[in-house]
């Protein structure tokens, strides 16, 4: 009892001092915001991913294993969705329409799947088309192996770049010492595919013996945000660190992002993972958070609808339950703003084709940020 009180106190002291150490890690409360948050889609439990279709409708995943089609103000449950392995952080996760959806109708879905012989599950990527409110022509494009009953770190964000390549993140599945640094194993990686699931011949490890050739970058922990930079076209991620050490990274082919060899975080228990925050041959993050905000979802603001927001990065915070705006100047984060304070666990954020920001919040649903005129 005395011990636990002591531990609790020392944890709190550590937490607050680590907060104070790093002034660039302060988040500010803006006195006014250029939007009103309007709850567009209500009564959702864990809206994990969302995408926009050309007819103005939206598809939103519910982690428990549903896809909601939101059209003209009404919700319809999509039928024939993939069977998910519901355990821990697993479930029906991201969803993304093909950039040329208007012509080919492909929808991409990531989820935790039991496919395979071993007990447990791992992250899978599927594509399918929507017909008569059901998924048809389903094709399994990738399934990470091996299965494991571990509950954490499925990753699962999907994004397309300007050349039409599909990027998928898969977290290290709770095997930090086995997966992220080993390119012959799945997990702790960002993958690159052609839109039909084939592996591009110029992927960085195609000629490496035994490598998983879909790998594009490695040394990741659990990336739950992926976004395309509007000007450079490069893919950026955000990923959960352990306690402290959440990161934003610019993804480069063949690069090693260092987990768990280098990190700005520590174990949940407060013990160190490593004393190294940098090393030759490993990438430094573009930005890191101490303490962790538990980032999920990521979007660049490209529209002029929200005052001076253009060029900012938006990231959801699961832990502190707000939407964070990171102001970027050159290669640096110069300010961090807390938006939608105490709204709930922010799971995903996207800029829609209409230039408006949409925010998925656990226990609530999907908010539209309506610009103040």
């Amino acid at each position: 009892m005395k011990n636990s009180v002591f531990l609790l106190c020392s944890t709190l002291v550590f937490f607050y001092t680590s907060c104070a150490q790093d002034p660039e890690n302060q988040v500010s409360d803006p006195s006014s915001t250029p939007f009103e948050a309007e709850l567009l889609i209500d009564e959702m439990q864990i809206p994990w991913g969302m995408t926009f279709l050309p007819d103005g409708s939206m598809l939103v995943t519910e982690k428990s294993g549903e896809i909601v089609h939101f059209k003209n103000g009404a919700k319809t449950k999509v039928k024939e969705v993939p069977q998910v392995y519901t355990r821990g952080q697993g479930g029906l996760l991201d969803i993304e329409a093909h950039p040329d959806y208007a012509n080919n109708g492909w929808i991409y879905i990531s989820y935790s799947s039991e496919e395979g012989d071993e007990k447990g599950g791992n992250t899978a990527l599927m594509r399918a088309k929507l017909k008569d409110n059901a998924l048809v022509e389903k094709q399994l494009l990738y399934k990470a192996t091996p299965n494991t009953t571990k509950g954490q770190h499925f990753g699962s964000r999907i994004v397309f770049d300007n050349e039409g390549y599909l990027f998928l993140s898969i977290g290290e599945r709770g095997a930090r010492d086995e997966n992220p640094q080993d390119i012959t194993r799945d997990g702790g990686k960002i993958y690159r595919f052609h839109d039909d699931g084939k592996i591009p011949q110029d992927n960085p490890f195609v000629s490496k013996d035994g490598a998983k050739t879909a790998i594009y970058s490695y040394g990741h922990r659990n990336p739950q945000g992926l976004a395309k930079h509007p000007e450079t076209g490069k893919i950026w991620d955000n990923e959960h660190g352990p306690r402290g050490g959440d990161e934003i990274n610019i993804i480069k082919p063949g690069a090693n992002y260092g987990w768990p060899v280098i990190t700005y975080g520590i174990n949940y228990s407060g013990t160190p993972i490593t004393d190294k925050t940098e090393m030759d041959g490993m990438e430094q993050p573009f930005h890191y958070w101490v303490p962790s905000i538990a980032p999920s979802g990521m979007a660049f603001v490209t529209s002029d609808k929200y005052g001076d927001w253009k060029g900012s990065i938006l990231v959801g915070s699961l832990k502190f339950q707000y939407l964070e705006r990171l102001v970027v100047e050159g290669e640096k984060v110069t300010d961090r703003e807390k938006l939608m304070a105490e709204i709930g666990r922010v799971r995903d954020v996207k800029e829609g084709p209409d230039g408006l920001i949409y925010v998925a919040v656990e226990g609530k649903g999907v908010y539209k940020l309506v610009p103040k005129s």
Binding site: M1, S4, V5, L7, L8, T11, L12, Q45, I46, K63, S64, Y85, T86, R87, G88, G90, G91, K150, G151, Q152, G174, Y268, S269, G270, A294, K319, F320, Q321, E342, G344, R345, E362, G363
Partner: protein
């Protein structure tokens, strides 16, 4: 004398039972700790302290002590809506973790006997199985 013999006999019988129960609890807690470190620690943290106004504490939680069945139900089927723990009201979502009944029994035994919590009655797989939505 005869009475004393009976008493001694009873004590001898009772000691192994108590010891067996303690061993059961210890083993269950050890398995439960592994479950906790996988599924719970991200939000409720290492010492069950939770996060102020976001994730309720499990350490010295009055809710846990008074609502054994509802606590097990929350782990088994998920939890949503308002919940008051140690005088603070929380309103968040905990998704069902997909644990099997024996894992839920183990993690409950770990939580209910750690960080200042103490429970006199072991949570069994049967007890978890019997709790419906």
């Amino acid at each position: 004398m005869k009475f004393l013999n009976i008493l001694l006999f009873l004590i001898f019988c009772a000691v192994p039972t108590v010891q067996a129960q303690e061993a059961d609890l210890e083993e269950s807690m050890a398995r439960g700790e592994a479950v906790y470190m996988d599924f719970c620690v991200t939000c409720h943290l290492e010492n069950g302290e939770g996060v102020a106004n976001t994730f309720p504490p499990l350490a010295m939680s009055d809710y846990l002590k008074k609502n054994r069945e509802a606590s097990i139900r929350g782990v088994k089927y998920g939890q949503q809506g308002e919940l008051t723990v140690n005088g603070v009201t929380y309103n968040s979502v905990m998704a069902p973790m997909g644990l099997d009944d024996s894992e839920i029994a183990d993690v409950m035994n770990y939580i209910m006997n750690s960080w200042g919590n103490w429970s006199s009655k072991l949570v069994t797989t049967d007890e978890v199985e019997a709790i419906s939505k």
